[in-house]
């Protein structure tokens, strides 16, 4: 082999070496992504195909569209709308609360920002179950907030803060905020401060500089945060189940009921398939119009 290489012309050596490195690159690419691809196939594609397959059979095991036709009945339409209402509301509140926080974090000196960031991330590391129960302790009729309001004379009757839509939205906003703040902060951090100074140089007031320069540049991070929050809300189960008092019938609650209470796997599968398709469509749509992928890898 070495003898042969010595005999051929330099240009050919380069070519064959290039080719070899290219094919090696190809092999290593496949090799490196293989474990991940296998994992995705094993935990996502195969179970999902099985789920889709199951949804085509009725309770007695015959092929039918029963499971999908059922979804047009009022109980499911209602719960579908509730799911989007809750997800929309939670996302909107997260934007209102999260944008100023992310802006503050991005403008503060590095050290102060790091300390404040801990307060954003700390709840993120705490179990959702623990946080949800904590809200129950705070919000219920004999809870801390109502007791305090009552004893301070601000209200004469306890406020219905939990076991309804209010409690569900409060609990979900708390869980979802970091999902909005983190991508937003990343994109704001990447905005070159020189651009704002340039805007000021050109005569823009701080408000104008923010509106015309900063805000448009932060939009890709914002849309990533919105998409992430909204999609996670669509499948949220625990918080609505515990804080909704049985009144907030999310799509996920219907799925859980079908499996746990009524042992109807076909119906549960049909519900899951619809949720997955809707989620995929939303992500695809948002990605197309707002270029969410920029926020993950590309520059704003």
């Amino acid at each position: 082999m070495t003898v042969m290489v010595q005999e051929v012309k330099p240009a050919i050596i380069n070519n064959s070496l290039l080719q070899r490195s290219r094919s090696l690159q190809g092999i290593s690419f496949i090799g490196l992504s293989l474990p991940a691809a296998m994992l995705v196939a094993a935990v996502l594609i195969i179970p999902f195909s099985w789920l889709a397959w199951l949804s085509l059979f009725d309770a007695t095991g015959n092929l039918s569209t029963e499971n999908y036709v059922r979804l047009l009945r009022p109980a499911y339409v209602e719960s579908f709308l509730t799911t989007f209402k809750v997800a929309g509301l939670v996302t909107a509140i997260c934007v209102l609360l999260g944008y100023p926080v992310a802006y503050l974090l991005s403008q503060l000196p590095q050290r102060a920002a790091q300390i404040l960031m801990v307060f954003v991330i700390l709840p993120f590391w705490t179990s959702v179950l623990v946080r949800t129960y904590a809200w129950l302790v705070l919000l219920q009729r004999q809870g801390i907030i109502n007791q305090w309001l009552l004893s301070s004379g601000l209200i004469s009757e306890p406020l219905p803060l939990v076991h309804n839509m209010t409690g569900t939205v409060i609990g979900m906003v708390h869980v979802m905020l970091p999902f909005l703040i983190l991508p937003l902060y990343a994109s704001m951090k990447a905005i070159d401060p020189v651009l704002l100074r340039a805007a000021a140089n050109c005569g823009a007031s701080p408000a104008q500089a923010f509106r015309q320069v900063f805000l448009p540049l932060s939009l890709s991070g914002l849309s990533a945060g919105i998409a992430l929050t909204f999609v996670l809300c669509l499948g949220f189960y625990l918080t609505p189940a515990l804080l909704g008092g049985g009144r907030v019938a999310m799509w996920s609650t219907q799925i859980a009921d079908m499996v746990a209470k009524f042992a109807n796997w076909g119906a549960a599968s049909a519900l899951s398939v619809v949720l997955l398709i809707v989620t995929g469509a939303i992500l695809g749509g948002v990605n197309r119009f707002m270029r969410v992928s920029n926020a993950w890898g590309g520059k704003p």
Partner: protein, 348 residues
């Protein structure tokens, strides 16, 4: 209350009869029972299954399942590895209708002491629970509510209510609140039940979805009055919360055993079931699984219980008179129809 003790000879006759009836299977066969697992299954084995197996000269092996779907898979395979399955009553009735179970041999299994709703062609109840009316004694003091009608009466008994997210038992409650006598409940008039529920739903502060949640609600005073499992409210009272409950018009639901179609040890399984529902073994429930009651009322003739245990047990002769047995067959045929209406009712 007077407790009648069974004579030694009576016990011997019973044991001898059982020994004869169980003569058609090999000694020391191993019968496999599948249950929902967890601590409950541990307790069921210690209280009911093991003594019944010992009595019939059998060994038992345990498996777990997650509901009727798993049972279907077992039976559809053609050669099930389980012999017996422990389920909730409506699942037993559904499985029987779908042909998943062997008929029970009532020549081997004695139903004396059973309510007629406590067994079917393919299944028999092995343990019972009650859905009772509970209330905060610090809210209602000496003017305590006494029936489901009082739960619906928001003028005389103001306050926040809680009902279950699961329609089973709640429709029964709604009908009794609307004036249907407890012995005329079935077949349930579901339209009337929903009309009745419509009247109370604005006062239902919480629709609870788990046992733990239900006991927390009354313990924390989040609600003042509710429909709740008797076992759950008993533990709340034991914790010292100012709560009380009544067995009046409570609904008795149950867990049940059934033999899988094509089970390898079907004969032995029949003998095991006979043992599990016998008064002697059922009499172990009030002490060993106080959160459940026996399903065979003769258990209270066989066992010796303190007045406290009798007052607490949902199946004691005094308490059972006040209650009504759930009709598993009605729920088998109607669950799917009512569940959607019920979920709409809760959401609006």
């Amino acid at each position: 209350m007077q407790i009648r003790h069974v004579t030694l000879s009576g016990l011997l006759v019973g044991a001898a009869a059982l020994a004869m009836a169980s003569g058609s299977f090999a000694a020391n066969e191993t019968v496999t029972i599948a249950g929902f697992g967890g601590n409950l299954q541990k307790d069921l084995r210690a209280t009911l299954w093991q003594p019944a197996a010992d009595k019939a000269g059998l060994s038992i092996a345990e498996e777990t399942h997650d509901g009727l779907a798993a049972v279907r898979v077992q039976v559809q395979s053609g050669s099930p590895t389980w012999d017996l399955v422990h389920l909730g009553s409506d699942d037993c009735a559904v499985g029987g209708k779908e042909g998943l179970f062997e008929p029970l041999d009532y020549k081997v299994i004695n139903t004396d002491g059973f309510d007629k709703r406590g067994y079917g062609e393919h299944w028999i109840a092995t343990n019972s629970y009650s859905v009772v009316l509970a209330w905060r004694t610090d809210v209602y003091k000496d003017k305590a509510p006494q029936s489901w009608k009082d739960l619906w009466d928001t003028e005389k008994f103001p306050g926040r209510r809680a009902l279950s997210t699961y329609p089973q038992e709640m429709l029964e409650v709604a009908l009794m609140a609307d004036g249907v006598p407890k012995d005329e409940l079935y077949p349930l008039d579901s339209k009337r039940a929903f009309r009745s529920l419509d009247k109370i739903k604005s006062k239902v502060a919480v629709w609870w979805s788990s046992g733990a949640q239900s006991s927390q609600l009354i313990k924390d005073g989040e609600v003042d009055m509710m429909a709740i499992w008797g076992s759950r409210v008993a533990s709340v009272i034991a914790d010292g919360a100012p709560v009380s409950y009544t067995y009046q018009d409570a609904i008795l639901g149950y867990g049940c055993l059934a033999i899988l179609k094509g089970a390898p040890h079907a004969r032995a399984a029949q003998a095991l079931v006979a043992g599990v529902v016998s008064p002697e073994i059922q009499a172990r429930i009030p002490e060993m699984m106080p959160y459940y009651g026996p399903t065979n009322s003769l258990a209270f003739k066989v066992g010796k219980f303190s007045p406290e245990v009798l007052a607490r047990s949902n199946m004691s002769p005094e308490n059972i008179k006040k209650q009504v047995f759930l009709d598993a067959n009605w729920w088998r045929d109607n669950t799917n129809l009512v569940r959607e209406d019920y979920s709409l009712l809760m959401a609006n």
